[in-house]
Structures are given as structure tokens and as C-alpha cells.
Amino acid sequence: MRTLIANIKRKKLVQLISEGKRSDGRDLMEYRPIVIERGIIEKAEGSARVKLGETEVAVGVKIEVERPFEDTPDQGILTVNAELVPLASPTFEPGPPDENAIELARVVDRGIRSAEAIDLKELCIIPGEKVFTVFVDIYVLNHDGNLIDASAMCALAALLDTKMFGYEVKGGEVVIKEDERHPLPIKNHPVSITFAKLGDELVVDPSLEEEQLMDVRLTMTVEDSGKICAIQKGGSGFLTLEEIDKALSVVVDKAEEIRKLVVG
């Protein structure tokens, strides 16, 4: 849903940004303060909370035994879902995930999947019969802009926090050993960096106010070795090839900076 912003405010913000400044005092390429907490939900196999400025996201990871997909009989399953919980913003409404929630989940999913962050082969129990499914549920608690980066950080932190149950197979049945825990096999650490185009400038980590004014949003996700593993443009504006190039030239370093905070 679109929220109207007074024209005078728009003018001022774009003016400020063209001078290289932002209304909250940040540099164009500066993130808001990031606070990451792991293990916030005892009942989840893994969990985390991320505060990115005033934006707040929680992620819970649950693991269950399911049948594998036919085309990947020897791999576990990753499922990412996002809920824009009504308490997080006056614009969020109860009901099934809308296109914004679905896009959010799919962009986070794409980063984790493309980077092969989870070793899904390790999650196979009986090929073609039983595998572990990793459910990553993103819960947006307060929306003050840049939900994608906050959610991606939080998902990665929660996956790093995740402890799987031990198991044994007895007569074709999977028996979970509650007292035996080991970490989820994590091989890679994808980090997303989101830009907003305001006027002719790109800024990272847009606040809600900036998102309401931006023409375009551009998210690039970078994995450990500096390869790009997901991209998503959003919003009803356009980017020039030069702008894409500009984003590309800063994104790897920026991702490394954020990765240090998340992985620790």
C-alpha cells in the first residue's frame, strides 16, 4: 500500500541526498545501527532477532521430517516464509501473505539457496523416503524500512543458531534422539545489500521514509567468496546500466562488513 508523503518533504529529502546527506545524518553508503541476538525462542530449533535502526525482525527455524521432492530425492528441503505481522505497521493487514510478503520470502530464500548456504545433502535421512525440512519463518515485528536486509541477516543468524536433533533409523522409521543435538550444516553466509534510488543517487539501507520516496529498490546478495548469488529490483522506476555498475562496485565490500556482524 502506498503512503502519501507531503510534497515538501520529498523535495527536501531528495535535495539533501543530492548533497550526499541523509535526514537521519547517515552517509549514503552507511547502514543504521545493527543489533543481533540469537536464541530468543527456546522452542524453536534456531532463532534470532535483528534490529536495524527501528526495523525489527525475528526469525524462527523449525525442522521436521518429510518426504523429499521427486527431482531431489537425496536432499533436504528449505522453506522460507515471511509474515508481515499487523502489529508491525499500520499498512499491514491480517490475512494470507500478500505479494510483498511473498517477494520478501522469495528474495531471502534465493540468497540462501543460490549460495548453497545449507548443505541440503546432509539433511537426507533415507533417499527418496525421508529428509529433514528446514522451515525458516520470518516475522516482521516493526517496519521502518529495508525489510529484505533485516530479514536476510536475521535468517542467517537464526540458521547459525540452529541445533538439529540426532536420529537413528529403526526398521524404516526415523527415531529422533531428543538429547542429542548438533549444529545445522552451514557452508556459506549470504548477505544481502539493498540500495534505494532517490533522485539520481543510490543509498544503502533505506529507511521507511526513504522507501516511500524512492523510485527503485535494488537488492544484491553476496556469498563468502564475493560472488553475487541473488539480485532483485523492486519498485516502479528504472535503473541505468551505470547505476547497476555503481551498486556492483560497492556491494562486495559492504556485504563483507555486514557478514562480520552477523557471523561474529
Binding site: 511473498i102 517477494e103 549460495a115 560472488k227 532483485q232 523492486g234 528504472f238 541505468t240
Partner: protein, 247 residues
């Protein structure tokens, strides 16, 4: 029902692809404009084995009314795959993938339309994938852009879309279904070619920044070729009548 298997090689010894194309070669593409009787604008594309229909209704009154915007038209877009369009029957209920694609396709087309000229109305765009063989989001954007122009909706430019990607370690353009499924990366883009403006940019898989730049340039070149075909297709209907009468 049949399941496809991964071909042993996606690029053969001669450097050709599973359908015999060179790395920088598009599939054969045929656009047709004005193919549906009831729609205000329509178009059809066949790109390799991918077949897609697009229809536009509007600008018209918005239902339900609260969705209307006071200062511009809303573009509503529904990307949908027919149950028989893929090897295994797809449930006709919209999937999460279809919902995301509907959104990014809409956002790829919005910059091209003078939406501010028709406040409080909607322009409804329906895209039906009749046969999917890879590259459906890009083909959808290209064909939808023609349906919009056919409906007489004022546009800044046509939007052409094309993907580039990496298969068997090689960068290629306009991926087909197996290349998309078993390749290492896919970068679909859309462009208002005449204005040099990128309106869709996505990627999955992995590319280092240098490879990404090359892939992006290949996709841009693909868009340029498709853009020319789009222009020809829009003119064809009228050019044929002209030819017939001037004989």
C-alpha cells in the same frame, strides 16, 4: 506425465547448446499483435517452445473501488501458467512464484506507461503461459508490452526483456528450460531500450562480479534484438493492409 532428465552436457564439444544454438543466439521468436477479439489490446509470443498470450483491458473503472488511486491509474498484472503448460500438471491456483512474477512484471512495465494521465482507473493485464520452456517472465514482459501498445495505452517506450546466464561454465543468452533448471545462474532483465532504462533485474545462481557484468551486457544485447522484433510486429498488421491495397 513425463519427467525430463538432466542432459549429460548442456554445452557440446562444438560449443553448441542443447537446442543447437550458439551461446549468444536467441531462440526463434515470433510476435503477433491483436490476436484476441474481446481484449482492448492483445499479443502472442512464441519463443522457442515457450508460448504466451497477453491481454489488456482498460483503462477502466476500478473494482473494488477502494483500490483506485487519486493521482494515477493502477496497473494490475496477473501472470498465470496453464495447468498443461509444464510436464507435470500445475495446479491452477496461483503459486507463490506466480505471485512474485506478477509483481516484478508489473514493476517492469509501470515505468513505460503514462499512468498519471488516467487517475482512478485500472489497466488490467492478463498473461497466460500456454507452454513453458524457460524464459517465461521475460517473454511475458515483451509480449505484454505489445498488448499495451495495441490497446492504445500511451507509452514512453516498448519494454523488451531477455535473460542471460551461465550453463556448464559458459555464459549464454535466452536460457531454455533445461538450461534454467540445471544451469549455474540466470539473470533476467527488461529494458526500455530506446531510453537505456533497466526496469527488471533479477538473478539467481552464482556469478562473480566480472561474469555478472558480461552476462548483463549479453542480456542487454538480447533486449536490443527483441526490441526490433517488437517494433516490426506492431507495424506488421498495418503494413500488411497497406501492401494488400497498394498492389
Amino acid at each position: 506425465m513425463f519427467l525430463e532428465k538432466r542432459p549429460e552436457k548442456l554445452i557440446d564439444k562444438k560449443g553448441l547448446r542443447t537446442d543447437g544454438r550458439k551461446p549468444d543466439e536467441l531462440r526463434p521468436i515470433k510476435f503477433e499483435v491483436g490476436v484476441l477479439g474481446n481484449a482492448d489490446g492483445s499479443a502472442r509470443v512464441q519463443q522457442g517452445k515457450t508460448i504466451i498470450l497477453a491481454a489488456v483491458y482498460g483503462p477502466r473503472e476500478v473494482h473494488p473501488r477502494h483500490l483506485a488511486l487519486p493521482d494515477r491509474a493502477v496497473l494490475r498484472c496477473r501472470y498465470h501458467m496453464a495447468p498443461f503448460s509444464v510436464s507435470r500438471r500445475k495446479s491452477p491456483a496461483p503459486s507463490r512464484r506466480e505471485m512474485e512474477l506478477s509483481k516484478v512484471i508489473r514493476e517492469a512495465l509501470e515505468p513505460a506507461i503514462f499512468l498519471e494521465r488516467y487517475p482512478r482507473t485500472s489497466i488490467d493485464l492478463f498473461i497466460e503461459v500456454l507452454q513453458a520452456d524457460g524464459g517465461t517472465r521475460c517473454a511475458s514482459i515483451s509480449v505484454a508490452s505489445l498488448a499495451l501498445a495495441d490497446a492504445g495505452i500511451p507509452m514512453r517506450d516498448l519494454v523488451a526483456a531477455c535473460a542471460a546466464g551461465k550453463v556448464d561454465g559458459k555464459l549464454v543468452v535466452d536460457l531454455n528450460d533445461v538450461e534454467d533448471k540445471y544451469g549455474e545462474a540466470d539473470v533476467p532483465i527488461a529494458m526500455m531500450v530506446g531510453l537505456n532504462a533497466v526496469t527488471l533485474l533479477q538473478m539467481d545462481g552464482m556469478l562473480d562480479p566480472k561474469e555478472f557484468r558480461t552476462a548483463l551486457n549479453m542480456a542487454v544485447e538480447g533486449c536490443r534484438q527483441i526490441y526490433e522484433m517488437q517494433k516490426e510486429a506492431l507495424k506488421e498488421k498495418y503494413a500488411l493492409i497497406r501492401e494488400e491495397l497498394e498492389k
